[in-house]
Subunit: 136 residues, 2 copies
Amino acid sequence: MASSSYSNSPCAACKFLRRKCMPDCIFAPYFPPEEPQKFANVHKIFGASNVSKLLNEVLPHQREDAVNSLAYEAEARMKDPVYGCVGAISVLQRQVIRLQKELDATNADLIRYACNEMPAANPQFARRMGHGRGFL
Amino acid sequence: MASSSYSNSPCAACKFLRRKCMPDCIFAPYFPPEEPQKFANVHKIFGASNVSKLLNEVLPHQREDAVNSLAYEAEARMKDPVYGCVGAISVLQRQVIRLQKELDATNADLIRYACNEMPAANPQFARRMGHGRGFL
């Protein structure tokens, strides 16, 4: 849920930018005063003006998701200035390739079993039986 | 490899920003004039000043990777303004969970076979034998 902290205190964005938080502030619903770091991060990485432009380009019901994905990207970039969240994509892509290979090999073992061969003679099968994820 | 298009034409960044491209231009090695869209994208999403700051914060040998990851993020955000490359992370995370479940189930079938049970009676196994990724 987007926060509706319009009340007394300015939103985290207006506080950061030292400006008056108006009732129609584009940032206020998504940057509550209790989370100052969220705005500080997206401001450092994308800039307040770019975030404001992007929020105006998407539909109101999409804005919370847009802000949260920007905040995720900004935090990732601050933790890893070289790769940002693209580093996480690379890790996940390698994990998908590894799991797919392991699944293909396990399926091949299963076919050999179904054909009454003895895959225990296969060193890769023996390794998986001993160390495979499913058996630990 | 970073391009070294210092020669006659200004780099894509300086051309975009309509400024003189100096020999020590921080953008020139990574934004060759032949790829104008690369700079246009990172400028729209991050802003030239933020990109320049980030390049100055990382080591020279890391700058090409940093620019390429920024260009990837920027392109993803332009294609999907709501989720950007965080959308790709979600897709990959779901794929990892699905593959891990499928691998666990296949390993369980394999164990049943190894214990001389007949997993063909198991509808999930039969489904995988018919439609599993490894068999198509």
